[in-house]
Amino acid sequence: MPIIQVENLSKKFKDFSAVSGVSFGVEAGDIFAFLGPNGAGKTTTIKMLTTLLHPTSGSILINNFDPVKNQSEVRNSFGIVFQDPSLDDELTAYENMEFHGVLYKIPKDLREQRIEQLLNFVELWDRKDDFVKNFSGGMRRRLEIARGLLHHPKILFLDEPTLGLDPQTRNHIWDYVKKLNQEEKITVFFTTHYIGEAERVANKVAVIDRGKIITQGSPQELKEKTKTQSLEDAFIELTGKNIRSEEASTTDHMRKASRLWRGRR
């Protein structure tokens, strides 16, 4: 019985189909990569899996629970690192971690111990009492990841977790995730468009483009299927050579406006 089971999942926004008829399964203990170009429907799928968005049609089972009907059971089963920022700028790094720890009911001793360990791990311990608003993009990203790893869930969702990080930090973080996967048997579901990452870390890959899954299998199988040397070639073979663009959302506009405004003060 797979721990994530998705059948014929679709999501429509007005007349735009972000995800159409996607099916896949993730076995417990797997590291599963969702690979696709920008705007392929990766984040929309993750939002549906994590109760943030209701599907237009299709079914999802997370740890045997339905994210629409059994929201709290599903929420109890996973942890997530979001693609876009989700930190509170007006709190310190430590307070952001603590807030998360309390919401996830991690006992105080364990919470303090893990916060220290993880903040050291992402090299932010000496900045723990600084406000997040003073952090650079890379530091925020590291803090988000540290926070996502604070409680040890059954399933860990990572939406483009290493976007904008340098190779050293990326390696460092993937080593940790692999260790969590092996030692605590945490199932990992991550999206990326770094093909190298998918090849190195995942034992199963699904390629998604324009809201549909094109192919899935182990990285080895994909290479054999497309008769290509590397997963990168396979990826381009499958998704074409056109460059994808994403439209900026209202959120992006507001963030930009707020940055300008803050800069002026």
Partner: protein, 250 residues
């Protein structure tokens, strides 16, 4: 309990850290107390209304609680835009607890702001003869009720909005009328029928009445009515707000 506490604590930290917001929010009450309180003072006195600053101060205190509480509720939109809302929404905690934590936080902040304005109005010449311990408690009770109701209302409305574009609409067509038509600025006796009706369905009117009744002599609706009306509608809005909050999709 710990969920409610951490959400409450977050609101308080955010409030006390933004000093410019606290001080900025005192500007309007000062202006109202001076311009209206002293500007209309002599006319009010001649018309037999008594001391206008005394009459006005409870209304201005209620106003600052209204604005602070509404703003605290509306902050849900900011959290949505800046992403933090996702963090609370995926957490395995009940939506009711999130709603209660936020509402308590917003209400606490609003009451603190109200107390600042009360102190400020003393500096600006507001005096009351009959301040006993129990009357102070009564004032605080009504401050808390106003704070709770409008934070919950703000949160409920914000749950329905995607971005700050509707904010002006809410300020001009909801918050301002609630303030101006609440009896904060004028006595509720002998008003035109339509205005009497509007004040009777205005929640803030009961809050202003309660605070004014507790600080000064004389009350319009009566403490019991003020308390029951505010208590009941606060409970109702909390329930509706929790429901709307649980329906948020991102």
């Amino acid at each position: 309990m710990s969920t409610i506490y951490i959400l409450w604590l977050r609101q308080l930290k955010r409030y006390f850290r933004s000093r410019s917001r606290i001080i900025g929010a005192l500007g309007q009450p000062i202006l109202f107390l001076i311009a209206l309180g002293y500007g209309f003072g002599s006319i009010f006195q001649k018309a037999g209304g008594g001391n206008y600053v005394e009459f006005l101060a409870p209304g201005i205190i209620a106003m600052s609680i209204l604005f602070t509480a509404m703003f605290a509720g509306i902050e849900v939109i900011w959290d949505r835009q800046f992403g933090f809302l996702k963090e609370t929404l995926v957490a395995p905690v009940s939506r009711v607890k999130i709603m209660i934590g936020r509402t308590f936080g917003g209400a606490t902040v609003a009451v603190v702001q109200g107390i600042f304005v009360l102190i400020l109005s003393y500096i600006l010449g507001f005096r009351t003869a009959n301040l006993t311990f129990w009357r102070i408690i009564l004032v605080i009770v009504f401050m808390v009720l106003i704070g709770l109701f409008f934070t919950a209302l703000g949160t409920a409305i914000a749950s329905l909005l995607e971005d700050m574009q509707g904010f002006q609409l809410i300020m001009n067509f909801l918050v301002q009328p609630i303030f101006f038509l609440s009896g904060a600025l004028f006595p509720l006796n002998n008003l035109p029928k339509v205005l009497t009706f509007i004040t009777e369905i205005n929640p803030l009117a009961y809050g202003v009445d309660g605070i004014r009744g507790a600080l000064l002599a004389g009350i319009h609706f009566g403490f019991a009515i003020d308390f029951v009306v505010l208590g009941v509608i606060t409970a109702v809005v909390l329930v509706i707000g929790s429901y709307l909050f649980s329906k948020i999709q991102i």
